[in-house]
């Protein structure tokens, strides 16, 4: 079945969703839905998957088939779906904790195998659902319930990790850059192989308020203000300039054609 209007992709009986006021996850769902609607994917031949977390509630609002799996294992399940039914479009919603902490190994190997699917990581830099513990993406100095004096560990750069592990398409945007994000998801779905799109988003409840960034609007403005285009960051690195702290580098990291597993043809 094809969607006639964009709203056909949502399970309207489930809306409004459970996300807090001003949470960025809803914005990211919109962008993904807009992308699949633009590409005119078949609702019956698209599968959304996720692990556990606030972000991972997203497939539950999709009209197509969806799998809400165990914590961190979304990519393992997605690999199974894609290899079993290669004609399907597989899209994974995941969180930073889900993808980088408990699911870290699945992520690396899914990138290495370059399985033909699109992974959208809603990176709110925290474990939102369980009350705001620090995740592998919590920046140094940021407060969370498990880092009451500020995080001390260097966070993951998920995009560089995906590039290193072999994903075919890697990009990072924020939940403020909606048009760019939508276009990145379109490119990601069109690119054979694993497409990884990291989206920095606001979690006003557990991250923004604790770190004195503020509610949804202030947090989104903060994401916008601190975003820097990848090209500019590379140029600054070449010139030996220091990239200011708390900068989110956004843009397309890589688009290439390594051998793909589970491709459509």
């Amino acid at each position: 079945m094809k969607a006639q209007v964009k709203e056909d992709w949502f399970r309207k009986d489930r809306l409004p969703h459970i996300f807090c006021v001003g949470c960025g996850n809803g914005t990211i769902i919109n962008c993904v839905v807009d992308a699949v609607f633009h590409l005119d994917l078949d609702i019956d031949k698209t599968v959304f998957l996720s692990g556990i977390g606030c972000s991972s509630r997203a497939p539950g609002y999709m009209a197509s088939d969806s799998l809400h799996t165990t914590h961190g294992r979304a990519l393992a399940f997605a690999t199974g779906v894609k290899l079993g039914r290669p004609e399907f479009d597989v899209i994974v919603y995941t969180g930073d904790g889900d993808l980088a902490a408990i699911g870290g190994n699945h992520f690396i190997h899914a990138c290495r195998r370059n399985i033909d699917m699109t992974v959208v990581c809603m990176n709110n830099q925290i474990y939102g659902m369980t009350g705001g513990q620090g995740s592998p993406c919590t920046p140094i100095g940021k407060l969370s319930t498990t880092t009451p004096y500020g995080a001390q560990e260097t966070p993951f750069d998920l995009c560089e990790l995906a590039v290193g592990a072999g994903a075919n398409y890697v990009a990072r945007w924020t939940s403020y850059h909606v048009k760019e994000l939508r276009n990145a998801v379109i490119t990601g779905i069109e690119t054979p192989g694993l497409s990884f799109i990291e989206v920095l988003c606001q979690c006003p409840t557990s991250f923004g308020n604790k770190n004195k960034i503020g509610e949804g609007v202030e947090h989104a403005s903060y994401l916008r203000k601190n975003a820097m285009l990848l090209q500019k960051a590379r140029r600054m690195e070449e010139e030996g300039k220091k990239i200011p702290p708390e900068t989110f580098i956004v843009g397309e990291y890589v688009k290439r054609s390594r051998p793909v597993m589970g491709g459509k043809t």
Binding site: P16, V21, G22, N30, V217
Partner: protein
């Protein structure tokens, strides 16, 4: 037949994200709570919306950033049958 910008009051949670993204600043922070206690943004001269004015002419969605950023899928364009004279026709 024309398009009209609408906020679905049962979906909107009053996060005000739409107020920061619209290039025309059509969404203004709400001042009175609705029956659910939510401050729904007010629409200031919504006739200026690019999509309302030009969607039918171009035959595709234009701009639409507010509907993309709204985390609660509350913003949409309704097709209204009666012709209402747009408040502003040309924007420079």
């Amino acid at each position: 037949m024309m398009k009209q910008l609408t906020i679905n009051e049962t979906l909107c949670k009053g996060c005000n994200l739409c107020t920061i993204i619209c290039p025309y600043r059509i969404f203004q922070i709400g001042t009175t709570p609705n029956r659910r206690g939510i401050y729904i943004p007010k629409l200031y001269k919504p006739g200026r919306c690019t999509n309302c004015r030009l969607q039918d002419l171009y035959g595709r969605q234009l701009c639409g950033t507010c509907a993309l950023i709204c985390p609660d899928q509350a913003i949409s364009w309704e097709t209204v049958s009666q012709y209402k004279k747009p408040e502003i026709m040309i924007e420079y």
